[in-house]
Amino acid sequence: MRKGIKTAAAAALLLTLVSGAALADPAGVWTRAGKTPGRTAVVDGTEVVLPGRADKKKAAASIDPAAGKAALRAQTSAAEGKTGTFTARLTADGLNDTLTFRYAQKGGETTLLPAPDLGYDLHPLPGGDALVEYAASIYRLDGERRTLSLFLKGQTGAYSKSVRKWPSGKSTPPMVVWGQRASVSPDGTKVLFWTNRAVTATGSEDGENWIKDLNTGAEKKVYGAGYQVLGWDAKNRFYLDLGDGGIAQVDSGGGGAAKVVSSYSVSAAAGNYLLSQISDGSLGVRNLSTGAARTFRGGGLNRVRSIAASADGGLFAVVNAPDRTKAASTLLLIDPATLEYERIDEPAGGSVIGVSWADGGTLLVQVRNRSTAAESTYAIDTEKEAAK
């Protein structure tokens, strides 16, 4: 249903915008868009205000020069509602630490917020719990009881969390990441994570990708080295960016893998589509259900700086450099099903920093003013735009 609306939105925007792209705001997109100060983005489905340049400068200015302590923190906060914190104790794996968590509260609903300034990554699970990456492992946070517990098994096959040694018998043990880079499958039944625990057997520090089945608790390796998870498709397959090694499509169940892009690319994947740029001027569009591949050219596409996919993969926002040697970017909104697109120039005097998608087809565009360096976020409602 939403997909159809978005497709219509993209097509309509194409008609209204593409002809006037040389103007600063030809169709009034930036004027109509909601604008808030600072950097807002959607992270794991939650809209959050990220620490930006102004926050960081304030925090730096608040440092007591004698003690070296900052009175203010450059931190994440709730995009809407109140921001609060609570603590939880972690008494597992020999740890006895108190961790602070940040949350947003609106209308009686509490949502945990990512907080890189607190020193860990956090990933929400279906049902209100979250996974916390801490001390080279992953723990489960009960959002209601505010307690932390083990998430990963302490032993899998020949690997034990408590036994770290090099196979070659070096005197100092290796640094082992037992779990990190968690990513929850769209159906909420699996968690993908990265680990280099095999270093104790193979000596390789390049790491592996493992799956934990949330229903059975079973954990197993599904793919070798590769770190960045681009996203998941509707068939519970995930996509790994292997850098110069291309992009691997991996079945989270059986572990079957296929290379869907053969070399380095700038890419994004969601729903039924993978978009990837290998060469300037063209963009590969792969239907992940059928395997059909097409090429997008148009809208002045040249060098892709970054791509963000909407949650259902119905629209992709591409930050494009018409001239790769210049700071200026254009924004291309592409419907991967039809290859229809719209092109939006940067707002007058601004540089696009990055993009993310909120629910309901709203695109959040982070922009920096080139004169003042002030950062702001525009919220473009693509469905409303389509109705213009």
Binding site: A41, L50, P51, D55, K57, A59, A60, A61, S62, I63, P65, A66, A67, G68, K69, A70, R73, A74, P114, P116, D117, L118, G119, D121, A135, A136, T172, P174, W194, E205, D206, G207, A225, G226, Y227, Q228, V229, L230, G243, D244, S263, Y264, S265, A268, I278, S279, D280, R305, S306, V319, R324, T325, K326, A327, A328, S351, I353, G354, Q366, R370
Partner: protein
Amino acid sequence: MSGRTVGRPGSFWRKVLLTACALLALSAVSAASAADYGAAFMQQYGVKAMIAPAMSPGRSDAGGLVERYAPVASKTNQPRNVVGGTNPHNGSDIAMNSGERVYAILPGKVTEVKHDTSAQLGSVIVDQDTDGDGTPDGVYVKYLHIDPAGTGSSGIRVGDYVTETTVIGTIDRAKNYDPHLHIMQTSRSRSGAAGAQTMPMNLFYRYTSPETWNAGSDLDYVSADWTDGNLLYLTAYASTDNPETNTYDRDRPAEIQLHYKIGSGGKWKMSPVRFSLYNADTLRYRIDLRQATGAAKGQTVYVYAAVMRADDPTFPNSASYRHGLWPQFYKHPERVLYASSRARADAAAKAFTIR
């Protein structure tokens, strides 16, 4: 007195300080040459002007918007237990993982891309656009031990303008080193260029909280100097992996020595007084310059500090090279600079007037 400008990186200050830095860089070159000293890299007092609220090179989301502060395994100017390679460390090692994307910490223009399989692996240098006005500012950051993003015409190349959400490479697979990002601020746009010097990194991350990179001090062995009357404050510690506990630690130095002379014609010596710990959370140390030198009010003292690294699991008692200097740092400097050359100590020192 200290010239501290932290938190005021406005355009006026930036322009003034960039000019100052250029002049300081020139003076640093001549100082190194005059001393005939192996200053392949040097921290020049005053380059702290290069503050900019950068992003972490690691991100936790596919869109590159959410920063991830991986632990720091070794700092710029930190003594290390190595047979080859520079000592103290010529950059900061961030414990990012094999295959992890590396992002530009600020927008900027690429000035060097090296794809190679030598001991240092690949690298990219970006002339950072610290104020985001679209024009690079002559602030060069090198990202090393990476696979630069793509190859040939389709890959990242010299002249590209990158934003802070542009992937410039990925952490290379384990070869001669365990996978990590070596990041350093350098004074030149090309590796090995004449006069290339390494600058401090901490001021890019001055804003970060104590839970992450200790307001940037996780990246430099000695940082954040400040004076209050005759009290001189420094942050000093080693950042290191600890294979015994599988953690990353901040290790206090064994001691911080003050070397000084009173007046320009004075004799260099080491003070019997050591810096004392002032704040255990941030690892701030301080010393009373009047008490430590015995100088009288109105006299000028010239000082440099030698920070002695303590034993830890990656830095055993057998490590032969154990000190990093402040305010300058050099490649393989002697701890007692004036033992062989008074001019060497003069070049490394900062002057204070006793109050």
